[in-house]
């Protein structure tokens, strides 16, 4: 047998998500057709059965995520992909996955909203919904992709985090990233680091399905492997059974939150460009981060000490990464394809040291490098000592 070699290929963002999911050993997809995410379902319908996986098109999006959770409970890595309207419909079961700690990945290829909105135009309007869409306090991980290569690596990362922390992970893409083709060299499956959920090590009689390890994450048994247990969306005790005991209810909430807090350094991903000596910086994510990178390069050429902090992890919001730069810089510019969803997070963690400036575009078009560059020029003018 000849040794497999990396192949260079031209892929769309949505195709790279498919490749990433397969590389992460995703073996189940349930979804419902929606623009601009449908390519993910179409390709997985062809490829999953070939690797002994399963594809199913459900009757709607809440059914899709229900099936995904069901599949994950049997030990199979599972995902769904949708866009804004479908993501709205999924929210109730998303909360179930948070509460019952069922690993799964939900891709939301964002399009213009609200409602049916602009089905074929890019937007970043679902950022706060990704964080708070389902009711009640809950932990969640939200990642954003900005390129075709990202779409691969971040999808793998999403599955790994989902498995490691027993949590639904949301991958936010947008119409630009989803449909841009780029030449990429993807790692071989054998080169991809894959994390699997921890299975219980004790005999079935001793198994307490929600008794956590030191990380705050309980080992997870699969339906059918002898560890008969109960899974519910009701607040439950360590045994997995419903409880209203105030002490147990509080413990349930605090552990769900704590397991994420304990993993922050592992979960919070950012990329930095020209940040070391920056006097002002841009916080951007998704396709807008690419416009920002160009604008920052151009600003540097014009003698402006600008930097870019690109957010991969949107939630839990990477406060600790931002703080030093909010102290170091006089201004931070937050360009977004919405009316200010991450800028409010930046404002929240800013303790008054830094001017937080929004740059918003909601006309269905991508923010251009020029728009960001112009704002950087304005912000730096009068500040130069």
């Amino acid at each position: 047998m000849t040794e497999a070699k990396r192949k260079r290929c031209l892929l769309q963002g949505n195709e790279a998500i498919v490749q990433g999911a397969l590389a992460a050993r995703c073996r189940f997809f349930a979804g419902y057709p929606i623009t601009p995410a449908s390519e993910i379902a179409e390709q997985l319908s062809v490829r999953l059965p070939a690797v002994n996986g399963t594809f199913i098109q459900m009757e709607d999006e809440i059914a899709s995520i229900g099936a995904v959770i069901g599949a994950s409970l049997t030990g199979v890595k599972a995902m769904t992909a949708t866009s804004g309207p479908g993501f709205s419909l999924m929210q109730e079961n998303l909360g179930f996955a948070c509460a019952a700690e069922v690993p799964c990945v939900i891709v939301n290829v964002m399009r213009g909203g609200p409602s049916t909105g602009l089905p074929t135009s890019p937007a970043q309007g679902d950022v706060q919904m990704a964080r708070w869409g389902t009711h009640g306090d809950h932990p969640i991980i939200v990642l954003a992709v900005s390129s075709v290569l990202d779409s691969f690596t971040i999808t793998v990362k999403a599955f790994n985090l989902a498995e490691k922390y027993r949590i639904p992970v949301i991958v936010l893409s947008d119409e630009v990233v989803a449909h841009t083709r780029e030449s990429v060299e993807l790692p071989l499956d054998s080169e991809v680091k894959v994390v699997n959920r921890i299975a219980p090590g004790m005999p079935p009689d001793w198994y307490k399905p929600y008794e956590a390890d030191t990380r705050g994450v309980p080992p997870m048994a699969s339906f059918g492997d002898g560890y008969r247990h109960h899974v519910t969306g009701l607040v439950h005790d360590q045994d997995g059974f419903p409880t209203q005991n105030p002490q147990e209810v509080e413990k349930f909430h605090l552990r769900l939150s704590m397991k994420i807090t304990k993993g922050l350094s592992d979960i919070q991903l950012t990329k930095k460009f020209h940040m070391d000596d920056a006097e002002l910086f841009v916080v951007a994510y998704g396709s807008v981060a690419r416009s920002a990178m160009r604008a920052v390069e151009d600003a540097r050429k014009a003698g402006i000490k600008a930097g870019l902090l690109q957010l991969i992890t949107l939630f839990p919001f990477p406060r600790r990464t931002l703080t030093p730069y909010l102290q170091q810089c006089h201004s931070v510019l937050v360009p977004e394809l919405n009316l200010g969803q991450i800028s409010r997070e930046v404002q929240r963690v800013n303790q008054g040291q830094c001017a937080v400036v929004k740059l918003n575009r909601v006309d269905g078009r991508l923010i251009t490098p020029q728009q960001i560059y112009n704002r950087l020029v304005k912000l730096s003018a009068g500040r130069v000592s």
Binding site: L10, E182, Q370
Partner: protein
């Protein structure tokens, strides 16, 4: 909204297109195979030549029957902004596309038009080749006009090895149509060879302001 406003660039603003980047827009109407062209071009450049490439397209109802456009950005370094900032080459396969996108062309960019379908060129710095006529009369299939254009753009852009481009073309079309498409492609290259770019006016804008 015209495209130059969409990209936020006006001709009097500094061109931020550095020498690393080469930008092509393929345009025409839905059904002319515009997006196929861009994908084949991107494949040749990005996969076979190993350069960095970003390919985008207009996506939505207008891709079916209305205006159709697709872009390819080529660079030796990783590409940040994935869409065109200032075009180095614009292929316009009909008048509407030519009118809509001409203003995104750099001053020293090349306008390539279908001689039969674009009646009025906005500049004399133009390469006019009757792609559709050649496809219909010589190849015998009007739908291969895009492949004639591919050959011409491949040569005129100077961005890609023509052998790679033909290889990508053969990989991207339905089986059984290779002969016809190859012939169309080669006819495009042949036509483009007759063009002397240096003999064209130096700027698309030289006659713009009266």
């Amino acid at each position: 909204m015209s495209m130059h406003r969409e990209s936020g660039l006006h001709r009097n603003e500094p061109q931020k297109n550095d020498s690393q980047r080469y930008e092509i827009r393929f345009s025409g109407s839905g059904g002319q195979g515009i997006i196929t062209l861009a994908v084949i071009f991107a494949e040749a450049v990005g996969v076979y030549s190993g350069k960095h490439v970003c390919q985008t397209q207009s996506y939505g109802p207008e891709a079916r029957g209305g205006k159709s456009k697709a872009e390819v950005v080529i660079s030796n370094t990783p590409i940040d902004y994935p869409k065109a900032l200032g075009l180095d080459l614009l292929l316009a396969m009909n008048q509407a596309a030519c009118d809509a996108y001409f203003f995104d062309l750099n001053n020293d960019g090349i306008l390539v038009i279908d001689k039969g379908l674009v009646e009025q060129s906005p500049t004399s710095r133009v390469v006019a080749i009757p792609f559709t006529h050649i496809a219909r009369e010589e190849i015998g299939q009007e739908m291969t006009a895009n492949m004639v254009a591919l050959g011409a753009v491949g040569l005129l852009s100077g961005q890609v090895d023509l052998a790679f481009l033909e290889k990508a073309l053969l990989a991207g079309i339905p089986a059984g149509t290779e002969g016809m498409n190859s012939a169309a492609f080669r006819r495009g290259v042949e036509e483009a060879k007759k063009i002397h770019l240096a003999a064209l006016p130096r700027s698309v804008a030289c006659e713009e302001v009266v």
